[in-house]
Amino acid sequence: MRSRSGTRPTEDSRGLHVQPVTRSDLQPPEPRASHCNGDSVGAEEEEEEEEERRYQLYPGHIPTSPLQKALLAAGSAVMALCDPYRHDMVAVLGETTGCLALPNLRDKMKHHPEGHRILQERPRIRLSTLDMARLRGLPDGSLGREYVRFLENNKVSPDTRMPPKFVDDEELAYVIQRYREVHDLMHTLLGMPTNMLGEVVVKWFEAIQTGLPMCVLGAAFGPVRLSARKLQVLATELVPWAIRSGRNASCILNVYYEQRWEQPVESLREEIGIFPPPAIRV
């Protein structure tokens, strides 16, 4: 099987097999003169391939019909609930249900100077673009230092975010990608770890901020796996704070984080409008 130049199957740290492969890679060579249903199918297939290449708006894009999207949304929602380790299902749910929220977010970005710049320059947050050593060297309390601390304490990496597959607009695909990559920064700004409780709190905040149905569902259903004590803390302190902050804050996608590593976290929080986190151990 010939492989495409520049791409190779990769396995991310969560063990998900991410394989960038196109249809042409998967087609076995046909050495026999194809009597297969006559030549019309051969021509049909080529036409289909052409069409699909035309419809593939960005690398990794899988064009889907409305029916497929609906089935994917339902299936991924169920699977995400049954198996919380299927982060790819959460991602798929976000993509298939975001058709209203994503254009909304994109417009918010367009009408904001910093957001507009982000849309133009399309920065990506990943280990290869971040200078980890420099960020680690920044003073305590700065965004860069705290972000790296968060990554190390929780043993996560920005490179495990799923690339979008089912978003049928190239710019919106970037918007959702940006939202995913900024998620860890949300954790940092909100001071929430990556345990179940912390994730739910961040989801509440994101639900208010983005309006993505996936966040709303995650915020609503995430708590079902929490203990009663945690639920109490969640309901009485954390969620109200998350909602207040979410409402008060400006759009989190309109912040060019990569240009603000030196800025102290507290100052950035104030600027965006996030209230200081409650003094509770999560």
Binding site: M1, P9, Q19, V21, E30, V41, G75, S76, D88, V92
Partner: protein, 261 residues
């Protein structure tokens, strides 16, 4: 094709059940009944990765063997206890009656899953697992009584070579059996089947196995595969005689059979 099955191996069985709503089990049972193996049969199951056909073969042969033994016992009514217990000793170690199945697959991952299943389900004797390519089998000529390939021939690049190899390794009098997706001629069913295949199956692949592309490939490879009559001709070209096919579910699946005479 190899990479497709590497990622697919672990979720293969779950996906099969979901995609066919469990009907693939019935298809495989029908194949086994058609084969009707007697104890002492040596079966080669090609592209048999996770062992579905092999396990069914063992079950079938075991039950045939049990009935054989029961019949033998009935005939022993007039023997002394001594003679009966002696014949028991003989048959005790032959619960399979010398039947054997060799599972051959080109993919290590599929074989691994198969071996694990065998252990889990308690199959130990009469089974061997061999890594090999259907186009170039690592076996001598005239070795096997039956050759099966269930849902595997579709993935072979040179089907004609696989058929030739099948002919080569079968004993004279041996039988070739192929279970594979085929063509539906009924127009209404065909449209429903296409709708299901193209709309639902890749979604199932994404949701259950996290792999849209492999299952999209699967559906497309089914469409590209030769229809019943054409496959029959190809099997005849390889030298098989008395070649015939049986449609299951109006042609969604077909069993092709041929003999080396």
């Amino acid at each position: 094709v190899y990479q497709v099955f590497e990622s697919v191996a672990k979720k293969y069985d779950i996906m099969n059940d979901s995609m066919t709503l469990g009907i693939h089990r019935v298809w495989k049972d029908i194949l086994m009944h058609k084969m009707n193996p007697s104890p002492g049969t040596l079966l080669l199951d090609v592209a048999g990765g996770t062992g579905d056909i092999a396990f069914r073969f063992i079950n079938y042969v075991r039950s045939v063997r049990e009935r054989q033994l029961q019949r033998k016992l009935k005939h022993h009514q007039n023997l002394s206890w001594q003679e009966i217990s002696e014949s028991y000793q003989e048959d005790k170690f032959k619960s399979l009656g010398d039947s054997q199945v060799v599972v051959c697959d080109i993919n290590k991952e599929m074989l691994k899953v198969g071996k694990q299943k065998a252990q889990h389900l308690g199959y130990s004797e009469g089974l061997s697992w061999v890594l090999g390519n259907a186009e170039e089998l690592p076996f001598d000529d005239d070795k096997f009584d039956v050759y099966t390939i269930a849902f595997g021939i579709r993935n072979v690049t040179r089907i004609d070579l696989a058929l030739q190899e099948a002919y080569r390794v079968l004993k004279p009098g041996g039988r070739f059996l192929c279970l594979e997706f085929s063509h539906v001629s009924n127009p209404l069913l065909s449209r429903l089947y296409d709708l299901y295949s193209f709309q639902v199956i890749p979604v199932l692949g994404e949701v259950i196995a996290g792999d849209w592309k492999s299952y999209q490939y699967l559906v497309e490879s089914i469409r590209r595969f030769p229809p019943q009559e054409e496959l029959k001709a190809m099997i005849e070209d390889a030298g098989f005689l008395k070649v015939d096919y049986q449609n299951l579910n109006l042609g969604i699946v077909a069993i092709h059979s041929g003999f080396k005479l």
